[in-house]
Amino acid sequence: MTDLSTRIAGIYLGNPLMLASGILDENGYTMKRILEEGASAVVTKSIGLKERSGYSTPVVADLGHGDLLNAVGLSNPGIDKYGEEIKIAREARKPIIGSIFGSTPEEFSILAKKMEEFGVSAVELNLSCPHVKGEGLEIGSDPEMVESIVEAVKNSIKIPVFSKLSANTSSIMETVNAASKSDGFVLINTIRAMAIDIYAKKPVLSNGYGGLSGRSIKPVGIRYVYEVKKETGAQIIGVGGVSNAEDVIEYMMAGASAVQIGTAVGFHGRSIFRDIEKDLFGLAEKIGFSKISDLVGAAL
């Protein structure tokens, strides 16, 4: 019997398929349902200290071919109120990973501690949020800041800490080294992008700029997973454009111990988790594996 289970920083996953942050994880009931319908874990929406409305609609644009552009703008109810959603989601009795964003190491620590109190299995640091000091820059592009954040969070909680990094960088290894105290890396977040409607003569998102996700960014995600695995051997969760079983295997061969699925959940529906799981069983014979975790890094 093919074994699809895997582990990331000691957390057992029944299959390598997790829900990515920001997709169907605002409402506790939705997360619970997604866990019941096949995801081995969910990552929450990125949560901050205070309630935020984010940008007004349109916040997403379907670009066709499985690609999406979004600028939701980190809307969230604030950490205190979000505990209620996690409580509901925990009824599914599977790992929940709390994603958090902030602008200082202190903010990240407070958020991480609250997440730990709410009973999540790990914390994911969204290091792609805007930097207060640098204009337009992400926190993740300031290695000193990244180092302080990871250190502060690691000192505040006992559960594993994952750093989610941006692909908008000239050197991912610089950020990886700065975040080396993390228990693992989540690669990658969306890529800076934009689309213009030529009839409206306007950007299609209310915010103008947005982040590209979906099929198009898979080769970018694969590259960074491969590079970081090769350079560090660290534990990695691959994200970006996973939409079928082949994509999962590709990420795992590049070095990921598990993957997260975002955009494709929208295009395919929540059944994507069960459908990919079924296809993974089918691929086991064609590719020749009995334990999927044996494939981690097979292409390195």
Binding site: L24, E26, Y29, E51, G54, T57, V72, D197
Partner: protein, 247 residues
């Protein structure tokens, strides 16, 4: 994928509601919706109030985006994507349509000679599409009693025989909740169209979800037995930020 169509005609249905007709070649089923984008203003969901031939949306002037849509004229461009969502189950036999406010927009394409209607609104002038039913087949309910029963659709339902092959309900969630509570146990062929704030329309953002179901994708049409399993129906919704809010 965003498309754009030219508005062919515009018709004022009530003082606050207008219908915009446009040619669009996509295949649309009754109950499905589109996302309508007003560049520089916002993007909101709208049911198709006509799904064959010239298609249409029937829009209530409510907030900024709907106001902007309603202010358009024939010849203007409409930016739309879709159609999205699961449609109504169509039946041949006698059917009852229960619509509150702009909710009648989604039900409009169902109206035929075998349809009965319960049309409700705040006041008489806002009763939408009541005139499209055959004579004697429509019941009205107004908050102010200016036309028909003074009260809600439930006040009408109490007075009529529920012998229909299908009952279709669309309107504000609290109205639908009261209809649901009344119909529960009496009939089981009922479909409700839920309305939640929608950001993406394609099952990604979670803003429209009710008890784990995405209204944009699993709905907007749900059967009464599905509604019965939704702890959040008529009780909770998430605000634009994601804050759990009592209805």
């Amino acid at each position: 994928m965003m498309e754009n169509v030219k508005i062919k005609w515009k018709k004022e249905e009530t003082p606050t509601v207008s219908t915009l007709g446009f040619e669009w070649t996509r295949d649309v089923k009754i109950g499905q919706f589109i996302m309508v984008w007003e560049p520089g203003v916002g993007e909101i969901p709208m049911s198709l109030s006509s799904v064959t031939g010239t298609k249409s949306i029937t829009v209530k002037n409510y907030g900024p985006t709907s106001a902007s849509i309603v202010s358009k004229s024939a010849g203007d461009r409409l930016f739309i994507r879709g159609p999205y969502g699961r449609p109504f189950t169509m039946v041949k036999g006698k059917k009852l349509l229960i619509g509150g406010g702009s909710g009648m927009a989604a039900l409009r394409p169902i109206i035929d000679s075998n349809s009965y209607g319960v049309v409700s609104a705040r006041t008489s002038s806002e009763l939408l599409f009541a005139n499209l039913f055959e004579k004697g087949k429509v019941y009205e309910a107004t908050d102010d009693g200016s036309s028909g029963v003074k009260g809600t659709p439930v006040d009408v339902l109490r007075k009529i025989d529920l012998d229909f092959e299908m009952i279709y309900v669309c309107g504000p969630e609290m109205m639908m909740k009261s209809v649901y509570d009344y119909l529960l146990g009496k009939v089981d062929q009922v479909e409700f169209t839920l309305e939640r704030s929608m950001k993406c329309g394609i099952g990604l953002c979670d803003s429209c979800s009710v008890s784990g179901y995405q209204v944009c994708k699993d709905g907007p049409v749900f059967r009464i037995d599905q509604i019965g399993k939704m702890e959040e129906f008529g009780k909770w919704k998430l605000s634009y930020s994601g804050l759990r809010t009592k209805m």
